[in-house]
Amino acid sequence: MSEIELANVSRWYGNLVAVNDISMRIGPGVTGLLGPNGAGKTTLLSMLAGFLKPSKGKVTVDGEPTWSNLDLYRKIGFVPEREAIFGYLTGWEFVHASARLHKLPNTRASAQAAIELVDLVEASGRKIETYSKGMRQRARVAAALVHRPSVLLLDEPFNGMDPRQRLHLMGVLRRMGEAGHTVLYSSHILEEVERLASVVQVMVTGRLAASGDFRSIRRLMTHRPHVFTVRSSDDRRLAAALVTDGSVAGVTVGADALTVSASDYGAFTRLLPQVARAEKIRLREVQPTDESLESVFSYLVAS
């Protein structure tokens, strides 16, 4: 069992801060690193995998610093985001080469077990250049876990996988987590984290925005105010009718539209047509604004 620790870690490139004063401990089980693209997830994982020196702070695995620490690769497995792979090798050769580079006692058995684990047995005799994107990803995962690392780091591992492959890899990672491995993977897709990770670390613009149990973070996300732009045949009357309801936090009357802030998404979307019908007002446009994942994350930073 291994523990990852980041203590006041920052990393900047020139004037650009990629990771800003992050502290966290990650123990056995599956942890999701969630955040929009450009949030600093890859930078953080690169520091954990020993491929980037922190500008400030300490990154350790079981108390040992990760930067330039070759021995640490005996307990770390890393699947980077870039999809590079030796296309001229077969899947078997690629995974077996990883086992040999680790100088494992029984390289053939280890390679076979890793290939079976990612369900790549049938294709393992084929050259990797003939593989689909998802199969290549599974080959890379097999190579990363061939030495049964106690820490497995994966950067956007589900990219390019079809739903079946995604479910399968999720199963593999879940089983590893249950077996006591420390699995940390990054994703910018909420559902990928929700379905797999018991613990979530949310990163936004280099900062740790939220951390902990997924359900409490999800609650925060669901209960945040939602903003709608509404155009109707009588904006002022509609505003007056809406503002009396508890699901509406505020209404601003603009030149040609209303901006409605709803505290409860579901209740508001049910209320609006009912009010319009009762007031005989015609709705011309209802547009939820600011529903991007980035805005959800930004809300978490502020909350």
């Binding site: 650009l16 949030a39 070759l70 497995g77 870039r82 792979i85 080469a97 990363a144």
Partner: protein
């Protein structure tokens, strides 16, 4: 030397599209030698120009450039190197293995055809043939070290390598006053060693044997050291939104 990395590197060097070029140069050298042999005349009149001028002076550096920049530089560029770097393998072992493979491939497609061409032209001159082959082998090693290093340091290893071969060694190195340039020319070291190990009259290097031997070693060691240093500090940076 790591046999697993050597095997992957070997297959990579010969498996890429640019590997076709590896066959073109030695084929040209051998065809030219055969043609000139058929045309008759004393092979000593033209063999130096073919094996030393064309073979050691042009073919070896170009082959080393093709192979040397692919064994490490291409893997750094496409990200494949990470699969090797995430293993507990010392970085010097990785670089030295890749250098040995690059030198071996260059020698296979460069030095061996030079030996064959000399034997085709002068079937009795095994000593000269193997002397030229040894010089070509030295050239394969030194050039490979240089180009492996360049590919570790910069993404523009191929154009910089070409500039080194064409401008530094061939254009500036040919100038009478360019002694300093010649002192930093792998071509001159290799030609000097070829001159020493063969009895061909028209091979004339412009550096001494001592300089050639010492500088070959210095070039190889220093270039390898720089490549190792660069690989030890290999980083993966993420995209960052400002």
């Amino acid at each position: 030397m790591n046999p697993v990395i050597a095997s992957i590197t070997w297959r990579g060097a010969l498996g890429r599209r640019r590997a076709i070029l590896l066959f073109v140069f030695p084929a040209l050298l051998l065809v030219l030698t055969i043609l000139l042999s058929i045309l008759g005349g004393d092979p000593r009149d033209w063999i130096s120009a073919v094996v030393s001028g064309l073979g050691i002076g042009a073919m070896i550096p170009i082959l080393a450039l093709i192979v040397g920049t692919s064994v490490l530089g291409v893997e750094i560029e496409d990200g494949n190197i990470v699969h090797v770097l995430t293993k507990p393998v010392p970085r010097h072992e990785i670089v030295i293995t890749k250098l040995v493979v690059a030198s071996a491939v260059t020698a296979l497609f460069g030095a061996v055809p030079i030996v064959l061409a000399t034997i085709i032209a002068m079937p009795d001159s095994f000593g000269t043939a193997f002397g030229l082959g040894a010089a070509a082998l030295v050239g394969s090693i030194v050039y490979s070290a240089l180009f492996v290093m360049l590919s570790a340091l910069t993404k523009r290893a191929v154009p910089i390598g070409l500039l080194y071969i064409l401008i530094w060694e061939n254009l500036l190195g040919g100038l009478a006053a360019a002694r300093g340039v010649r002192a930093l020319s792998v071509r001159q070291y290799t030609t000097r060693i070829a001159q020493e190990l063969s009895d061909l009259p028209d091979i004339n290097a412009k550096v001494g044997l001592g300089t050639a031997v010492v500088m070959s070693i210095v070039f190889t060691v220093f270039a390898t050291y720089l490549a190792i240093r660069k690989l030890r500090a290999f980083t993966i940076a993420g995209d960052v939104t400002a």
